[in-house]
Amino acid sequence: MGLVDRGRLPKPLTTLFNMGRSYSMWVYQWGLACCAIEMGAAFGSPRYDVMRLGVIPLPASPRQADLVVISGTVTDKMAPAIKRLYEQMPEPKYVISMGSCANCGGPYWDSYSVTKGVDQIIPVDVYVPGCPPRPEALLEGIVLLQQRIKNEDMGARWRGEGTVPMSAVDGESAERGGVPVVAG
Amino acid sequence: MLAADLLVAQNVGFYLIAGVMVVGALRVVTSNNVVHAALWLVVVLAGAAAQYVLLAAEFVAITQVLVYIGAVMVLFLFGTMLTRARIGAEKDLNNKNWVLGVPVAVLMLATMVIALNDGFGNEQLPLDAPPINTETISDQIFGPYLLPFWALSFVLLAAVIGAIVLARKD
């Protein structure tokens, strides 16, 4: 079974399911370091209120999560736990790497105990730069991810090709070159 | 609706439920996991409640659900989880002489079935008897059976005190 992930659904249905995935992203309450607080601000602050976008920060267990924001420094001691928790999330799952530490090690690039980027252990869908990124920057990352999900080809994801657009034509809108996702 | 239909429907219900109950009861005494046994017991108890309904005993049926399924079974599950409740099969849940139980039970069953057949044969139950309502039961309890009722309160009190004494640490 697994019609969604095999990409065997008619296109309207696929679009529908993609919409469902993009507008209902239960994000895992899991902060690592400084960025966790900015993530908390994005999730918890009424000023940003990520719930508007359909990103629901309720679950505390990976089993109910769709999205995990790796927010902060990944240390070598923490890395196995991160890997495991990512594994324990049910498919389909998405990862946002938030901040320099998670992207590349950031200020601790030369430390003896810090993993140089979370993408060394788990695949990442969107990288949000900043140290820490403003909450809006994280929101932008989430909006970007949502746009990509709306156009996503689950089959390709399943084959391990990452997030690729359903077709090249539609894909144009999903990829953007340096301009903010939603203007104005 | 015809009486025959009624008969059929009720009988079908009875046999279905009875079948489930017997299977459940067998699993209770043969299951090799205590929690599974407890849950099979729930099935039997629910079936019994359904049988009570068929026997037009609404109040008793609901009491069965409330007390047995809602309370006693929770007690059982607590009891098992407080002692030992592993996931998966367990050995040594049975006695060494469990084989002895089979003939005893079969013998007993045979005796009873013969006796019952002798005694009641094909006696029919009244089909359209009005369900015994709460009022009647209430009158029974607070009338002729008042004394057992009060005695019951002492039994319950004794149970509370006894259980607290037993379950306390000191």
Partner: protein
């Protein structure tokens, strides 16, 4: 001794700090022969170095003088780093450095020194207590019986410097994975990332052709 003009308040001649002088006097008096060296910087702080053997008893004595607040315990590795700071050009041989060990205030004889700060609660009267760590045994008495709070600090120091604490209840790794090797805060522990990654600063501006001898590009 600052190179820059001190603020007017500090330019007065050799300030005296009578409060600290009394305090130091009391400490020296109580410790007696256990003191190896001491230093008082007026309006700044007190340093006392005690002998290794009397480490725990000295701390106990000082505590009984009213310094009941355990601030921190750590160590200092006085060996200059063999790697320098973010070696400018790893392709070049490391520049000659003075690699002799020079201890800081109150001197010392060994590469590692322990450092404890105790404070009198409710005031700012504190004292920094140092003691040498024997280079061979690398073992000092544990302070846990004196200050329960020293437990974690000693674990950290053990993990970071490899200094053993005799009598510590459980010297286990605290920060690093149990199988971590090496003692990161020793000066000779290399930061691999710095050694592996080429410093972007080495890629300097290419000189004009026929201009090779021009070494210094104008920096500001």
């Amino acid at each position: 001794m600052g190179v820059f003009p001190l603020s007017p308040a500090d330019t007065t001649e050799a300030p005296r700090d009578e409060r600290r002088e009394t305090e130091l006097g009391a400490i020296l008096g109580a410790l007696g022969g256990n003191v190896a060296d001491s230093l008082l910087k007026p309006n700044d702080d007190i340093w006392v170095r005690v002998t290794t053997e009397s480490w725990r008893s000295s701390i106990e004595t000082i505590r009984s003088l009213g310094y009941a607040y355990f601030c921190f315990l750590s160590a200092i590795d006085w060996m200059p780093s063999p790697f320098g700071k973010g070696e400018n050009d790893p392709t070049q041989p490391a520049p000659e450095r003075d690699n002799s060990i020079v201890q800081g205030y109150t001197g010392g004889a060994t590469r590692f020194q322990l450092l404890v700060r105790l404070v009198m609660p409710g005031s700012t009267s504190g004292v920094n207590i140092k003691c040498d760590v024997p280079d061979d045994s690398m073992t000092v008495e544990s302070l846990v019986p004196v200050f329960a709070g020293a437990n974690w600090h000693e674990r950290e120091t053990w993990e970071m410097f490899g200094i053993n604490f005799a009598g510590h209840p459980d010297l286990r790794h605290m920060y690093l994975p149990q199988d971590f090797e090496g003692f990161p805060l020793r000066k000779d522990f290399p930061l691999l990332a710095r050694i592996v990654k080429p410093w972007p600063g080495i890629v300097d501006v290419e000189p004009l052709p026929g201009d090779e001898n021009e070494e210094e590009s104008e920096q500001s």
